[in-house]
Structure formats: structure tokens, C-alpha cells
């Protein structure tokens, strides 16, 4: 009944290359309801990558040793948080299905799995290398995986069946196909919304610390201290999670800006990481000065262009705008660099 027009890519070749689940996901990523559709092979590749992500996450969890030990506080917090995330996402997916917005529903599951579950939750509960995980957390994690696989199954039937069969010993004729999607009787409460919001702040604190580690080239194994002025009580409540994720030895509330510390802001709260002997001050100053020199040189070249009347009069607005942006960026970098150097020289 349908018309076959033109030489579209051969669907079976795509399946050979990316797997059926990958192609299904690629199609859905390309197809927001009722709009023109842009399809590109790379969407199937994205689908395949997602399959690999799920597979690797599963292998990670299944690779842990489980021991009958007490559940650490960070893990208890993490499981509580993820369950709330799951309930919120489930309601959203249900709503999108009712509106036939299937691509958006898939995006919700996708982000839930990739960002919240894989990048955040699993990192939070992951036991230290060679250490076992407590039984309670492990079982919650398997349950979450099960729920996620069931949410994913309509979109990606094959990989979800394969992994679902591996979570537990299943009966002879059992299948994820006929397992029921999780129905949460619990409605998303105000308390739950607040809980998730607090966790979002924690994520920002974690990102701030990670950025400093990256910039200062401080290895994850070197533990850091975190100091905070006018602490957000909500955040402090979940400090065990921050400690776990960022290898923080202690979190303390201070009255005044400390010297020689790197800092970042989350909303109106300022956080500090005293660097102490974690970095070689002389090397660091040298590094910053080299960077400063480069930025200053760069700024001069941009200014030269911008003071050239011929250029300013003839270049398209877009190009000029870009040059001005370069100028502003360089100026702000230079001022930050100067501040950092000054603080190290003290």
C-alpha cells in the first residue's frame, strides 16, 4: 500500500550494521510526531551507542561482589533519590504516550538511563575498587535496572530481553514482553520534588569540584577538603554523596573567604577547595603565566583587527560580532588568570 519512492537507505543493511534496536532508536530520534523528518545514519549510530551503554552498565553492576555489610549512608541517599527520579520519569513517559509523543517518551527514558542512572546513580553507589557492595544497594540497583529495561523494551525489544533474562533466573517461558510496566501508586509528592531539586544542587557542587580537579590537574585519588560560606542546609544533608563522588575528606562551614583556595558558585553559595600542597605553586604560576602571555597576545591581535577601520566597515556583522566576542572572552580570561596568579604569589 505504501509507495516506495527514491533510493532510501536499505533498512536491512542498517540493521546489519547497527542492530535492530539501534535502527529503531535512530528512526524514533528522527521522528517527532507530525513534522518533517531528518534521517541520518548517525542517528542509528547513536542508537547503537546507547545499546553499548546499557550493556556496559549492566556488566559493571553484575561484576560487583556482594557482601552482607551495612548500607553506607551515601548509598541509602542515592537509592532514595533514584527511586524518586524513576517515579517522576514514569509519570512523564505515561503522559507522553497518551499524547502519542513517542520520540519524546524515548528521550525521557534515554536521559533517565544515560544521565541519571549511569552517570550519577551508578557513580554514587559504585564500591571502591576491589571492595564489595552491600546487598541492599545491590538489590535496589537490580530492581532499578529491571524497571528501566521494561521502560525501554517497547523501543528496544532485543537488548532489553537479553539483559532482563540475565538479571534473575527466569522461568522457561518467561519474557520481558509480557512483564508489566512498573505502575507506581505513589504520586509525585512535594517532598519528592524538593528532594530531587536538592539533588540537582548537589550535582552542581560535584561538577564544580570536578572542574577544579580538571583545571588544576589533581587526581581523583588525592582527597580534597570542601569549605562553604553560608551553607545551604539542604545540600549539607546529602554531604555523604558529595564526599563519595568527589573524594572529599571533609566538608566544613567557614565564616570568611580562605586564601589560596579555588572557588566556585552554586546559585548564591560559594564553595572553596583549599589547594595547599596539592599543587606545586611555582609550576602552577609558570603555567598560568604562559597562558596569560598567550591570552594577552591573542587579545592584541583581535584588537588590531577591530581597530582597523577598513575591516570594521566591510566585514559582515556576524564576523565583527565574533571578533568582539573573542575580545570579551580573552579579557575575562586574562582577569581570572591575573587573580589566580596574585592569589598564588601570596
Amino acid at each position: 500500500m505504501s509507495k516506495s519512492l527514491g533510493n532510501s537507505p536499505d533498512p536491512l543493511e542498517l540493521i546489519d550494521k547497527y542492530g535492530a534496536d539501534g535502527v529503531r532508536m535512530g528512526m524514533m530520534l528522527a521522528a517527532p510526531a507530525g513534522n518533517d523528518i531528518l534521517f541520518d545514519d548517525s542517528l542509528c549510530e547513536q542508537g547503537r551507542n546507547f545499546n553499548n551503554k546499557i550493556w556496559n552498565a549492566f556488566r559493571l553492576v553484575k561484576g560487583w561482589n556482594v557482601a552482607d555489610i551495612e548500607q553506607p549512608e551515601y548509598a541509602a541517599l542515592a537509592t532514595e533519590w533514584f527511586e524518586k527520579q524513576l517515579i517522576a520519569a514514569t509519570a512523564e513517559i505515561e503522559d507522553l504516550f497518551l499524547k502519542y509523543r513517542l520520540s519524546e517518551a524515548l528521550m525521557v527514558v534515554y536521559k533517565l538511563f544515560w544521565d541519571e542512572f549511569s552517570s550519577w546513580y551508578l557513580e554514587m553507589i559504585k564500591p571502591a575498587y576491589g571492595e564489595p557492595i552491600d546487598k541492599k544497594t545491590y538489590e535496589s540497583t537490580l530492581h532499578f535496572f529491571d524497571v528501566l529495561l521494561r521502560q525501554l523494551h517497547p523501543f528496544m525489544p532485543f537488548i532489553t530481553e537479553e539483559l532482563w533474562q540475565h538479571i534473575l533466573d527466569r522461568k522457561e517461558d518467561e519474557s520481558i514482553m509480557t512483564a508489566q510496566v512498573e505502575k507506581y501508586t505513589e504520586k509525585e509528592s512535594d517532598e519528592s520534588i524538593k528532594f530531587i531539586a536538592s539533588f540537582n544542587k548537589i550535582k552542581e557542587v560535584v561538577s564544580g569540584i570536578r572542574t577544579i580537579r580538571l583545571q588544576k590537574n589533581i587526581a581523583q585519588k588525592d582527597s580534597l577538603e570542601l569549605q562553604v560560606i553560608a551553607a545551604d542546609a539542604e545540600v549539607l544533608k546529602y554531604s555523604e554523596v558529595i564526599k563519595k563522588l568527589c573524594n572529599i575528606s571533609s566538608i566544613s562551614v567557614i565564616e570568611q573567604k580562605p586564601e589560596g583556595a579555588s572557588s566556585f558558585m552554586v546559585n548564591t553559595t560559594e564553595y572553596f577547595i583549599p589547594l595547599g600542597d596539592l599543587i606545586n605553586v611555582e609550576d602552577e604560576i609558570k603555567k598560568l603565566e604562559t597562558e596569560l602571555k598567550y591570552q594577552e597576545g591573542f587579545l592584541i591581535s583581535v584588537m588590531k583587527k577591530l581597530s582597523n577601520e577598513k575591516f570594521v566597515n566591510n566585514a559582515p556583522d556576524k564576523v565583527i560580532e565574533m571578533e568582539r566576542k573573542k575580545q570579551a572572552d580573552a579579557e575575562s580570561k586574562i582577569s581570572t588568570l591575573k587573580e589566580s596568579i596574585a592569589s598564588l604569589n601570596k
Binding site: N7, P11, L12, M27, N35, H166
Partner: protein
Amino acid sequence: MELASKYNPTDVEGKWYQYWLDNKLFSSKPDGREPYTIVIPPPNVTGVLHMGHMLNNTIQDILVRRARMQGKNACWVPGTDHASIATEAKVVNRLAQQGIKKTDLTRDEFLKHAWDWTDEHGGIILKQLRRLGASCDWDRTAFTMDEERSESVIKVFVDLFNKGLIYRGVRMVNWDPKALTALSDEEVIYKEENSKLFYLKYKVEGDKEGRYAVVATTRPETIMGDTAMCINPNDPKNKWLKGKNVIVPLVGRVIPVIEDDYVDIEFGTGCLKVTPAHDVNDYMLGEKYNLKTIDIFNDNGTISEAAGLYVGMDRFDVREQIEKDLDKAGLLEKVEAYTNKVGFSERTNVAIEPKLSMQWFLKMEHLAKPALEAVMNDDIKFYPSKYKNTYNHWMENIKDWCISRQLWWGHRIPAYFLPEGGYVVAENAEEALQLAKDKTGNSSLTIDDLRQDEDCLDTWFSSWLWPISLFDGINNPNNEEIKYYYPTSDLVTGPDIIFFWVARMIMAGYEYEARCHSKMYTLQALYATNLDVKCLNLLVTLQIH
């Protein structure tokens, strides 16, 4: 079971698909649970999977799997469409490669070739759908020309005929000179063409001053079919022609000048040539003024004996030739460049020839009414909802549906012609014979005296019954399955077939089940109209329109 270190889809996909089949997990039978039903938009039986199917069926599978996991009794019925005109064209092409013409074969011989082709290629596409993971209840696989579906189609034809909704008549139809069949209005695609407007001189009969009327036309090759010239009675500049006769150029035939408000005073000179056999509007004028019709075309678009001139030449060659001949004879005043809309066959892409022809029609007014209401009051919903307007527009302007096709691959029209003229309509030859005896009072008639109509039905005349005939609702009304699974829950299809298929399915639903898809249609499938170009950039646009 140890997990592989890397995910390898090929190790996993075939294994689980087989597991699902072995455990009958796709199969559905009526039970106490809430049903969730989808019928597949049947792909052409000899088709192969393309990206449009891929997306369409992925969406269906997502919906079906989700419903199953919500505890519903999910049933996705697969099947294929015989695609009358498309398949017949493919078979004709294949025979041509072997040096065989369709006209050299009997109906039965041709159908044998068509079935061979169908058996050879049929169902490949359904196998391909398994690769995608489609969770169809394969035991229910149907074909629009299998026994159950064929019986349903014939039953419905007879029923609608007996209700007075199907009639036979000579009407102006859209003729496809390549496929040699009539087409429905929906199968004609109008495109803008750069053509010419010819100004022809029609001499006034017996005029002492040798005056002539000038007629502007895009189709000078049809003048052999002219049987009148028409002016508008309110047009002062042409008043002098009133009551006169004019002479068709080159042809020499004397035709009357008639008057009708229909003529556009502003177009050309305000004089219109009337060719009732080859123009829909002229046909209506012909009916009104009882004009003769001269069919100057053969079915393949060449000029017929009746034309007297240019016999056997192709219509487009004649257009070129006649321009020269008119010019030479001093009967061509001028030629102007002109842009007009020309209808083309959706399947063969040749210019449609409006042609008078004896065809079967289905009256639509009665059928369209409940189907329009159902959508307007949201008993049936479209996603996205913008298609509600499209639907409304079409349903309000609906014309009778030409359901006969001059093709062999399809459901043969169950009308039987009698030796003395007239016909009867019946589900089979035996019943037809009984009707014929009753009608003629001639009890010595035999089946051999009856001649069944050679034509077959439009493909959509079977697919419009699809959601009902899949559950045998026509042959066995109120059976357990139709009561349980119908109306179906969601339909996933492309907006390009809202009229061909969706609207007509809704009509059939109200006619035969007094209800229809009380839920909704998801319109999301797409057709790759500009794939060719975009593929070069490794970018594919699958468009909705």
C-alpha cells in the same frame, strides 16, 4: 549464562525472536482482558521494506509492546495488499521482457503469471519485518485476495448494489492510457505545465463577409471531437454569432453555436469549443444540450477511426502536427505561451485523458455523512490534529467513487450480463443464474449464457474493509473476534492515504459495524519524496507531505 564483553546484536536478535515465536508470545485470542488492536497498513504483496515501512512499523511495534506490558490483550494483525494496478504493471513489464503481450494472453493465463509472481515475491516484506522485531500475530497473516477477504469484498459489492448505492453508467472518467484503466479522482495528480494556447479560426457557415470565430484551446488535437461551439449570452462581443453554425477547422464539420452562462467571457475570445467526449465540463454541456459525442481516442491515447483525421497517431504527436497543418491552412490566428494544470496518473505518470466510459460507481453521500461526523465530533482523532481539516475538506466535497478498473489482477466484479442485454449482480455464478432466470422468465438459461464483467475492483475497495474483514466481520457478522477486537485501537499510517484508505475505512465501519475506530489514528508514517537528492549529502528527508 555468561554475558559477552561486547554487545553483539546478531548474537541476540535472532535468538530472542525465535524464543518469542516458540512461546507464542505474539499470539492473541479473545479473553477477559481489555483488547488492544492494530491492523497493519498492508504493504504491497510484492514490495520490499523501505525506510517508510521501517518507521511506520517501528511505531506500531512500540505501541503494541507497550499495550501488552500494560496488561492489555494486544493483537497486531499483519498482511499484504494485492495492489491491483501496481502489481499488474509489474507483471506486464516482466512479460514484456519475455516478449509476451498481455493482449496475447487469456485472463486465466495472465492471472497464472500474476499468481506466480505473487508466490515468488509475496511475503518477503513480512519476513523482513521480523528482523525489525515486529511482534505481529503471524498466525493471522492475511492477504487482500485470499479466500476470506475476497468473499468479503464480493459480499459487500452485492450488498451495496442491492441497497442501490452501486450503479453502472457512462461517465467521464480519468483514463490512464498507459495502464489502460479508469482511475479514481484521488489517483490523479495535478501538475503545472508550460503549454501553449492555440487560437483557432472557426469559419461562420454561409457568412458572406467570410467572417470567423476564434476559439482559444490548449488541446487543438481534440477538434475532431467538437460537436458545438458555446458563447455566453451575456457577452456583447460575440452576440453576432448567436443562432449561427460554424465550421470546425480542417475537419469541415458544421456545428451549432450554443449559449450558456458557463462560458468565461474573459478567457480567450469568449468562444468555447465543446468536445463532450474529452472534457468533463464539455460533457456536462453535452448532456444539457443533447449534443453528439465523438470519441476520437483509442484507449492507448492514439487517434481513433471516429476522428477521421490523424488516425493511429499519438495524441501528443498530433498536437504538434495539427499546429503546422492549421497554420498552413491559414486557420491558426496565433499561439501564446500558457501555464495550466494537467492531471497525471499517480501510478504510471502519464497524462490522464478524460474519457467517457462505462464504469461502476459507488454513491458516497450516504456513506460519507457518519464518517465525517465521527471525525468532527472527535469520536475519531487524528494525531497530529491538523489532518482533521484536510479530512473535513475532502469529505465535504466528495464525489461518487469510480470502483471499476480495466485490470485483471484484483477482485472481479460480480456482475453477469444476460444474452438479451441487462445484467444481474450476485455472489457467484449459480446465484446469478437463478436471478437471471427470475429476471428473464427464461428457465432454459445456463451458466454459459451468462458473461461475467471483465473488470476488477479498485484495490481500495478491498482495503477499505481491512479492519473488518481481518476478523471475518463481513462473512460472519457478530462473531466473537469482531466483537472483541473491533473497533481497532490505533492506526499508524501516512497522511497521503487519508482519503484513499482512512476515510473509506471509517465509512465501511459505519456501514457494516455501525461503529468505527472509536479511538484514534496516529499519522506518522512517511514517504521519502526527496530522498534521491538528499542522499547525496548523506542526509535523508522523510517527508510527511
